[in-house]
Symmetry: C2
Subunit: 325 residues, 2 copies
């Protein structure tokens, strides 16, 4: 069953005291560059360094421990992994996470630091869903998917509720919200949040160029797939296709899907470093990149930008700062 706007509101209550109400950051220079107002929702400051803790906690906080003696299992490119590991640790549940072998080191290390067991796989040749399902069955554990789940989508939507509330406090209405998009869970959650809290706001998913399965799916009206499983610096945004649930929510409600190049994402990371003093990972910077490069009109408008995560290896960040990327 698909989640509703009410589920997002319920999730917000469950998250109270556990998730961070992340700040909304406004930069006079960013506003000037865009000729409007840009409200950056700094989800890199969320617990575990990305928005993913929201959905993970909304899901895992509701689990009946007795029905999951083996705890939880998840597959993830790294941010959902950390969110699930942290949420499971709070509940005292064991967690096993299936991650691509080429996941940034920081994401693997942080996942283990929360006490989770990490199993790696090869993105090109193995199915993470199959590996995770086998582990879940063997351990009598509950599988916590990264986006195809009512509670996950509703949890991610709480970031949208907070952004809409902050816009209201600042006396503005968001014309659009740009959302970093992989499987579409965050986009779907924010779409549900805006439907209730800010119905005039248009949500746009943003993807790396060449990995624009969501944009093409929205354009064609059916679920499309990326040609390659990896090959962008935006490691967090490599889902092959939109989720069926997220697409059902997004298909007729969101605006056009936008794309940015890796170079534009890197430039947005440098902008966040120099102007916002925020650490963003490549996949967490694509929405900001779309605003900076005016993929939609910003003149005279108020645009929300979800800065979705900041889990970037130090070496990658140093290369970006030195313009080697």
């Amino acid at each position: 069953m698909l989640p509703t706007s009410d589920d997002v509101a319920l999730a917000a209550r469950r998250l109270e005291g556990f998730a961070v109400k992340t700040p909304v950051i406004e930069s006079p220079r960013l506003n000037a560059l865009c000729g409007g107002r840009v409200l950056v929702k700094a989800e890199c400051l969320q617990r575990t360094g990305s928005f993913k803790f929201r959905g993970a906690w909304n899901c895992i906080s509701q689990l009946d421990a007795a029905s999951a003696p083996g705890g939880v299992v998840a597959y993830s490119s790294g941010n959902h992994a950390q969110g699930v590991a942290a949420a499971a640790a709070i509940r005292g549940l064991p967690a096993l996470i299936v991650m691509p072998a080429d996941t940034p080191r920081i994401k693997q290390d942080n996942t283990r630091a929360h006490g989770a067991e990490v199993v790696t796989y090869d993105r090109a040749t193995q199915s993470r869903e199959a590996i995770a399902a086998a582990h879940a069955e063997a351990r009598c554990a509950v599988l916590v998917p990264p986006f195809e789940h009512r509670d996950i989508i509703a949890g991610q939507g709480t970031a949208g509720l907070e952004l809409a509330e902050e816009a209201r406090l600042r006396g503005v209405t968001l014309d659009a919200v740009l959302v970093c998009c992989s499987g579409g869970g965050l986009t779907a959650g924010i779409t549900l949040a805006m439907a209730a809290a800010s119905p005039a706001t248009r949500v746009h998913p943003v993807e790396p160029a060449g990995f624009d399965d969501y944009a093409r799916s929205l354009a064609s009206g059916r679920i499309e797939a990326n040609a390659k499983p990896s090959g962008s610096i935006c490691d967090a945004l490599m889902s092959v296709s939109p989720g069926e649930m997220t697409f059902a929510i997004n298909q007729h409600r969101v605006g056009e899907g936008l794309t940015v190049t890796d170079a534009e994402a890197a430039e947005a990371m440098r902008f966040a470093f120099a102007e916002l003093k925020l650490v963003l990972e490549p996949g967490g910077a694509v929405a900001l990149a779309a605003a900076l490069h005016r993929r939609i009109g910003t003149q005279g408008r108020t645009i929300g930008v979800i800065a979705s995560g900041g889990n970037c290896d130090a070496d990658m960040f140093a290369r970006v700062l030195r313009r080697e990327i």
Copy 2:
């Protein structure tokens, strides 16, 4: 005349709608490392990337433009420069800033970006005070000093009021606050703020090792000077001596002065990058370094840390990330 706690409260009202109420960030890992709670006041997210906008705005917002036809003049290692330039720009006043020639590029560029004129000098051989005074007289401008001014000290103190309020909301009392310290304006302002808002809280200035004029002055009971004008990566903390006003406020109220090495400041920058997702400059990271390295007891206590600024050149930050510093 010395500022009082009431002046800090008045400053807070003047700052409303102009300065950012910066978030207080708590990290489960930092808490675990310290065996207590650490509340990081993220002043790197303040307008202009450091707390300095607070004092600058508190001072410049009160200026009678007719009495300063030439606008404002300031001398600064870079963060006060940006604060003054931004505050003057809001008021529509011209600004001239005297900065050391070896100031990080980002600080010079940002100061010019706010429309200010920048004049450089050699830290080793020239007096910034004399140069600034001459310019102020020639231009019929008002000199806005970096710390020896009632309105500047009171303005910086507003960061302390916000931190005390946030601690109250979280149901804790701050046992101590660690403050990055150069001339002592921020330390003095926060000392005044805590006297009113959280009298049980002990304020400790933190300086780079070898540039611990404030710690030595507190120990000896008279104003001491650093042996060298520069030589630490903490470019923002190179004042030669405590200010007379700031020392008069701090001398009998603050706790022991603490010091950290450049290597410890760099490690704190890496911690802020990896765990807090914040960009800190070296001088903005010394208070966090003092907490991480337990320069005071943290076990079972609640410690405030002022992360005072984030204006770091990309090349310096990359070197820190690569452990070249």
